[in-house]
Amino acid sequence: MDKLRRTLLKGAGGALVAALAAGVLIPTRVLAAEWNKSAFEAKDLASALKSLGASAAADSKDILFRAPDIAENGAVVPIDIVSNIPNTTSIAVLVEKNPNALAAYFDFANGAVPDVSVRLKLAQTSMVKAVVKADGKFYTVQKEVKVTVGGCGG
């Protein structure tokens, strides 16, 4: 990225912070969906999926899921998910081995593009799973992300 773009974005970021501070945007009202308490508090993958109603999610090749094979830093693991399934209304991100399996949940209203990037904290090497809801049906894709002590490279 060139220097100019960086400066502009910095400026834009500043503007956003200012808008939030001034109460122009109220995050809680921006979110139309309800907080799924039982899913977020579920201690394991199976119960989190059950709370989402996604226990029977089918594997799909139409979800683009980008995650590192080995995390450079387990505390900040970048994940990108794009759903190419028509009428996608939500994307959930789950980490099997975390104390709370459901890490993030996104709703897409009125045809919003289902393209998200998140930074996850992984307690240990784990399967990371995306669950997409489209036309009331659930689809999934997953990948193992390794968290390692490192060192000793060739």
């Binding site: 450079e72 060192g151 490279g153 060739g154």
Partner: protein, 571 residues
Amino acid sequence: MHRREFLQVLAAAAAAGFALDSKELLAGQGAEERYDVPRFGNVSLLHFTDCHAQLLPVWFREPSVNLGVGSAAGKPPHLVGEHLLKAFKIKPGTPEAYAFTCLDFEAAARTYGQVGGFSHLATLVRRLRERRPGALLLDGGDSWQGSATALWSRGQDMVGASRLLGVDIMTGHWEFTLGHERVREIVDRDFAGNIEFLAQNIKTADFGDQVFKPYTLRQIGNTRVAIIGQAFPYTPIANPRYLIPDWTFGIQEEEMQKQVDEARGKGAQVVVVLSHNGMDVDLKMAARVSGIDAILGGHTHDGVPAPSLVKNRGGQTLVINSGSNGKFLSVLDLDVRPGSAGIQGYRYKLLPVFSRLLPADPEMAAYIEQVRTPYRARLEEKLAVSEGLLYRRGNFNGSWDQLILDALLEVKGADIAFSPGFRWGTTILPGDAITMEQLMDQTAITYPFTTLTEMSGATIKTILEDLADNLFNPDPYYQQGGDMVRVGGMTYACAPDARIGSRILDMRLAGKPIAADKNYKVAGWAPVAAGATGAPIWEVVAEYLRDRKSIAPRKLNLPTLIGMEQNPGMI
């Protein structure tokens, strides 16, 4: 005398116990044929990798243990000793057998002499270039680290040597352990207009911008050639992240495909990846990314005599790995027809650099002399004499590492010692002196701190499992390309084919099982986390060596291996 007669005379002389001059021996095998490789086609690439800053000729013993697991078992590069000779039809007892394997290492070393050295490499490069106008010289990285002079000059000795050698393009790994600012300084200042530093898989951690140019388009004769750089994907994990805090790496397979497609779109007839992935990762990548004609790789230090042909949906890709320590130079000649994409044919040779057969290039020799001068007294300090062979390479241990472990255990007063599974480091023949320079060949890094930590048995087990998985995970994309951590004081068994959590078994200290909840004193060095301050490893080992003067042959602490009896990656 004809070659056959000469060889017969030679055999007779050897049988009679004559001392033979190595130059004659090597010449008997065809010195001229060896290095005057006829040109083929119209596009030539020369490649070396992982020289680890070895400016002078060295001894370098190839491993006797280089296990492949899963689908990699028994395939190159996981062949050693006779298994390698057989697979590549190399005759035992030849200079090639000496270069590519560890068989009869000491005797062969005394017969055929040292390998590598930049002044000898320079002569070879010049000779090959004479017949190959426009040939590019590619350096796969790990050039600015591995010696005392590279550490003390912060890579500057190698920067000068690389320019003098005529390197055109490079990528990196250990370079980054000099810190991001130093790397930028060399690339932007010393390399500008001379050497292009490429890496498609390094981006800024904040906005994902390219840190280095991903690829370059070069004209060789009438052919447009793209070279794409692939740095070591796991640098921030295998080495300290704090040295490159703003950069993110990874294999970036999709991005690689995009770069290949973009280069083809710009008219590249040949696409080559200059890779520091490690050979197993190269092989997997070659099967999944299409449109690459050849991958010239390094990192795992595999000197493989012939390319591996990997099929993919776009056709096939040649995967080549060119060894380490300046011991080899790859010559890849391609036949590319006007107007067509891809190659019609190729010839490949991995040439061992036998120092005695290649006269030193005077300009390079003078340069090396000059960079060593200010450090000479420190380099030449004689610490002890080694009675046995000291080497590093091997999946589980080497005699040099055992010596480091023994020193750590004693000097640090530890129960158990760990030494990283680095693959660089030269070899010392029995009876030769161990100088400070040679000790630095094993230890010269920018985070050399030694540590002494209380660890529970459970923690030790977790660490060993984790590190074994970095070596033996059946999916190469989860491997980091180092060898297994070397372990002193404690014995264990290892089942490479098992899953993580089940590979490390029967851990014992002085015959007694290690208890999960008991604490042990563990010494180590090269911590990747920030904030360590212990004495540098070379000081600890130097103290141990000076105290002894003469170093008896080491007894290697090796794990009992399970399920590897038939694996040709071990002799």
